[in-house]
Symmetry: D3
């Protein structure tokens, strides 16, 4: 199982458990989170790149993986994704670099699979 399948499988399995639980705040937040990236005044591609950069500066590997997958689907190019990475790295500093390494690895799996 590659990085992409592993990430998606665990994510789906646990999200199902969480949505099955009777906690309205969590369920509504999950829905709201999905709605946030829908087409609006900004298109999906722009929103996903914003989500990706925020995930980098907050150093959340799973969030990075999620938005890398969505960015790839939305047609972000390799040159563009590296510019997003560069903004995240300049804003967040050298502590972002270990996450950048893992992001590049994941992006290449997306390219190879795509």
């Amino acid at each position: 199982m590659n990085l992409i399948e592993e990430f998606n499988a665990y994510r789906s399995q646990m999200n199902e458990k969480i949505m099955a639980e009777d906690n309205k705040v969590i369920k509504r937040f999950f829905n709201l989170d999905t709605n946030t990236y829908a087409e609006g005044a900004l298109d999906i591609k722009t929103k996903e790149m914003i989500g990706l950069a925020c995930s980098m500066v907050l150093r959340c590997d799973d969030c990075i993986k999620y938005h890398l997958g969505k960015s790839f689907e939305a047609g972000v190019s390799r040159k563009e994704v590296f510019e997003v990475f560069s903004i995240g790295m300049i804003i967040g500093g050298s502590i972002v670099i270990p996450h950048l390494r893992r992001a590049v690895e994941y992006w290449e799996e997306l390219e190879n699979q795509g």
Copy 2:
């Protein structure tokens, strides 16, 4: 070895090494950390839920595991722990979600083992 045993074994092994070292600041802090969650004006259950929520918003998986174990021992119910999760998620935002997934997995191991 399940998640709980793995976490506890590594934690005990390394804590021993750290306490064996002649660094007074670190040793006193470890003691103080333990005292913080003792019964006082607030009961242990409340303190552990506070510790759990703080660990979630700071996105520290090992801290979450530790306070999940202590919360379980202190009698926190599944409904209650999900309310703690919901507060952590609303305060800390969607970057808390990957930690929520792992927290739910760990909590279920505690229930199954309990």
Copy 3:
């Protein structure tokens, strides 16, 4: 105008502007945020203390003020609020101390006004 009035006035004024804007994600999140602290499996007092501790470790002065006000209303005592402070400080470290100073100042205004 004291600290409490100043905080509440600015908060109300800006929240009104934000709610008047036609952005559904933001409006729903504001509602959800309010619902999070409603009585549930956990009572309001416990939830507010959790919100307060999380605000401390995340070092958000305005969030601390908000939850201090709500905690005071919910009947949290001075001894209890200092125990919440102690947990926040041990988890978040010495960088929490400047926020602790301002929290104590605000708490005393709440006591004097209450």
Copy 4:
């Protein structure tokens, strides 16, 4: 002096002092920081919105002000800037809200002055 003038005046004054100092790492980083937002595979408007969202989730009021100014210049509309705010708030959680309030205040000054 309004918020915008106050921010720009202090920023310019201190940047001058910092650039006058003979520290190559700091000077090069300042240059690099400027280059990061230049037109490339991504246009300036997109880069500024990314910079703005990152500043929100990292809760840096001065960084928010800077990128609000640049976003306004780059032609970001009110509807668009609120969508950027919504992404920052969902990713970063309710602790972003106090910064959102100040961001809205600053944006309105930009509109009134523009």
Copy 5:
């Protein structure tokens, strides 16, 4: 009252209130915090520069001021303090810059007063 007097006055006043409170965890932590920077295997100057850099990457203005004062007393030179700043900025990224501006302002007050 200049920046230095203002900072020290508020800090002393609130620390007194906090130490007067009967909360052992907080009091012990305050003592421990002081002990941490005492001469040991590392000298005070090195420890204060470490404390300063950590305060910068965590973006705590009051902590920065405190360690700037102690670093100045310990004989840190202007060239040295700017090297500490440069490390903090590279590690923490451009979000550190607003804190760098205020740090430079405070340092110059220390030099002028010294």
Copy 6:
């Protein structure tokens, strides 16, 4: 393959990929990052200890490993590294402890291999 070899191998492999990419901001930042720790007004040993402490309070395991390796090469002693750990832990709080455990494990591998 031990922890040290594993860390270095992945780091080198991904850094090569990143440097091969035609993104000037990222490449310049990588160079700048290296220059930051060169001998200057402060010696390399001091700079590496500062880098290590900052990595701890920001809770970046890979950054900690990197600066542990460099600190070891620069002649930092076991007593000294534990003092750096103690400062990081007091500033950053108990959430630093899981990273401290992994730091001690890595340091012991450096000692055993050295």
